[in-house]
């Protein structure tokens, strides 16, 4: 062993290799800083943090507007991300958690019309915001009819958006973990830049990691949506 090890200097500030959780006394970084809660939401939760070491999950009650519907969050800890509240408190697990730091795009949502990672938004900062998730793209699709881990016979397809349909038609889905976030990002791109060329599409989707597909079928699906919207392909 030529080099001397440094056994007494583990990862700074972290006695374990776990992700450092934001100190509840300091605000977490936001991907897109929302309006100051005081100005926008007079009844916003107080910024007082729970006692360190004793998070108090029932500290706050607030309401969020998700996909045009109001949802009560009756008791939540201030430190919870919007992603956590969507998934664990509001029963909307369509937005996925793959990196917890805004790198992978699996939790992509629209926050007042901006594409953001829900893991990087504090839920309490989303009060009075218009939040759109993958669950809002295909309004009539039911929930909870899929056995865990199992496929289902696909004759009973629910209603899907044109982007979702193109992903199915072009074989863009493998494990599918990145797909809800990817589809939200594609909708956002094509809403703003319907005729985006391939390089622009790649740039726009470069914040959405996929590990299964190599992106080839995803790019094909985007092109298919563009063609169908332009009426050049059925």
């Amino acid at each position: 062993m030529p080099d001397s090890p440094t056994p007494d200097s583990p990862t700074p500030d972290s006695p374990t290799p776990d992700s450092p959780t934001p100190d509840p006394t300091t605000p977490a970084p936001n991907a897109r800083p929302p309006d100051p809660p005081d100005a926008a939401t007079p009844d916003a939760p107080t910024p007082d943090a729970p006692t360190p070491g004793a998070p108090t999950p029932d500290a706050l009650a607030y309401e969020l507007t998700i996909n045009g519907r109001s949802h009560a969050v009756p008791s939540a800890w201030l430190g919870e991300s919007l992603l956590y509240v969507l998934r664990e408190r509001l029963g909307m697990p369509g937005s996925k958690n793959a990196c917890d730091q805004g790198e992978c795009g699996s939790c992509s949502i629209l926050f007042d019309g901006d594409l953001v990672c829900a893991c990087c938004v504090m839920a309490a900062d989303a009060v009075d915001a218009d939040v759109r998730t993958v669950e809002g793209l295909a309004p009539s699709v039911g929930r909870g009819d899929v056995a865990p881990g199992a496929g289902r016979e696909s004759d009973a397809d629910g209603e899907v958006s044109d982007v979702q349909q193109a992903f199915l038609d072009e074989g863009a889905v493998q494990c599918g973990f990145c797909i809800p976030g990817m589809i939200v990002a594609v909708h956002d791109l094509l809403d703003h830049d319907p005729a985006a060329d391939e390089l622009r599409v790649r740039e726009a989707l470069s914040g959405n990691l996929c590990r299964c597909t190599g992106y080839g079928r995803i790019l094909q699906a985007v092109a298919t949506v563009q063609d169908r919207r332009a009426g050049v392909r059925p």
Binding site: M1, P5, T6, P7, T16, P17, D18, T21, G53, A54, T56, R87, G91, P93, S95, K96, A98, C99, Q101, S106, V134, E135, G142, V146, P148, G149, A150, G151, R152, E153, S154, D157, G158, V160, Q164, F167, L168, E170, G171, Q174, C175, G176, F177, C178, P180, L199, V201, R202, E203, S206, G207, N208, L209, R211, C212, T213, G214, Y215, G216, R217
Partner: protein
Amino acid sequence: VSADAVASTTTVPAKVRDLGRGVGRSVDRPDGTPKVTGDFAFSSDLHHDRMLWGRTLRSPHPHARIRSIDTSAAAAMPGVVCVLTADDVPGAKNYGLEHADQPVFAADVVRFHGEAVAAVAAEHPEQALRAIRAIEVDYEVLEPLTDPELAIDADPIHPDGNLFRHLPLRHGDPEATGEVVVEGTYDVGMQDQAFLGPESGLAIPSEDGGVELLISTQWLHVDHGQVAACLGLPPEKVRLTLAGVGGAFGAREDVSLQVHACLLALTTGRPVKIQYSREESFHGHVHRHPARMWFRHHATRDGDLVKVEARLLFDGGAYTSTSPAVLANGVCFAAGPYRVPNAVIEGWAVRTNNPPCGAMRGFGVVQVCFGHEAQMDALAAELGMDPVELRLRNALAPGDRLLTGQVLTGTAPVREVIEACVAHALPPDASADEPMALPGGAGLTAQHGDVRRGTGIAVSIKNLMYAEGFDDDSTAGVRLELGTDGRPTATVHCAAAEVGQGFVTLAQQIVRSELHVDRVVLRPADTGIGSAGSTSASRQTWMSGGAVQLASRAVRQVLLERAAAREGEPVAGARRVRFDLRGDEVVDIDSGVAVPVAELLADGPVEEVGEHHHAPTSPLDEDGQGDAHVSFAFAAHRAVVDVDPDLGLVKVVHIATGQDVGKALNPRAVTGQIEGGIAQGVGLAVMEEIVVDHGRIRNPSFTDYLIPTVLDMPTVAATLIEQPEPGAPYGAKGVGEPPTISSTPAVVAAIRDATGLPLSRVPVRPQDIALAPRARGDTSAPRARGDALAPAPGAEGAP
């Protein structure tokens, strides 16, 4: 894939269903709709109203003795229900895929950074996180063993010693020499599978004192055996069901949170969910083995390979996992898909205090392919021969022998994959008008005039399925009955793990083709039926596809017998079958009488189980000889790159490939496997590496461990070579691994072509290019560096 390249295989008719949804069609996934809507339940999406959150305390040290653990402060914290350490493990203290040498919780010694030490369950995930931070572990820090070259002679860091396997291979005349000799040493860094869905599972205690575990895994039954043993429960009290799996690529073969979650659930009497963060995921599963490899290739002046010598050192990290089998793949395929009459190969897989390594797509072959393909380029340069011509000249063909002495009895279209690969058109030159498409991408760092283009080729061989005498099997049940609407409905029950590859689609296609029934329902994969084996080794299409086929054919036979019984005739006469399933009727060929299947099912459902085994294999003998493998798949890749040598930046522009698939059962899904596999190969070539510094992982995040984005991913042009494989159901070979194997060396060969640098290590980092001594104009591949692996004159033995 460029549209023209695979138009014949990937263009999907708008109304696929009208053309049938059986084998050979690009049929839609049955789980596709819920996956695009967000309804599909991945393991991390599982929720139970009374559930607790589990969290694992992991060692901050790569090597330390545990003097004491004080959990009292953690246990007293609000919301904390339970804290467990090694003392609380009721059954076996260790688990492992091939050899149970990894502790459920470290008891006395921690052997890698991130090893599990304790676990807690709490009402809220934040409470669980704070609780593990409040556990006081008194460590006596020990010197970590992190250099694999020192492992064999070092003091053992585990009671089972530091050598997982030593495997020599001698083939032909070990003294043979060639007129032309090239030699080189190569390194492969530690790659991570980096599936998108981190490890997660939900354990639910059951009333009989047992436990149900909903888990994302690659092999339910091998998890089941390890979990039951560690819990000290009889197997029937532990039931596993596959939860939605967010990718796997080898990282879910080993147990991660399975025992911890079950133990917390049994101790608390409440459901417990564990969901790893990305950082914990990097610590919580095995990685691709880093390897150091020395090669010496001998050839005639005409370019015929005479002998390959190699010495391979794989760093297995702290625990065994699949190291012995990974090493065997490296040794057996050290020379690649070429005819080599003489070989002397020696491999070692060793234990260190680095993170444990095990299965990842390509499984030991990825490492040696990087080496043997660099050697082939070096040999071509030495011979003054075109690299493609050299490979074609030595390409394996049916009837040739592998290094193991095994004769290739199946299909081996090596020449065909190479020719198809290089037949693809080259991409246009980099455009000054698209600066974002240059190396550095959106950073707009490269100047068009500085960019150099390079092209490289690489070819690979990969064994399919398990090897060395393992009696691999898979079980599937197929039930055919009338649905509530009176239509025949088939239900498939198979424990094969769907991890994204599309087995669920294929199972439906097979049943449709065999039973002509359109409605095929899949039961959840669980331990309520026999094992399907692992979703790995490119084996599920062959093995579980085969089991579904067998079960379907047994059901079909019962239908024929029912029809025959109605006629009072035997199904088959002395000379031929008299009854046949045609469309949705069973037809008496002699009388012309046809009975609808629906009518035959009025007598009751038909349910049959198929158990599929592949042809037996043999162990390797003391010289590494034997018919150890079942079947082989081949692929060739040609990479085109643009490089800015001053900045060290690489843009992979284009990958062309020819791949031996046997028969494409779902061409669109095959294309997806090829493109996805190439992405992982490109990642290893130019960006992906777990940086391990004195045993510590320095980049356990997607901020610091980079996987290809859609901007990094080149255009792919693929040609599928279809030569049905004898003995394989429908002639299909597994397709998942080959794309990952030779894409990496092809990219590096292209960078060498662009820069003239030897580049003997992957991933190729910017500093490997920008800070390397310039060797412009010299396009030869790597040369020897006088490395420790190279045998000293007259000395053989440990590296």
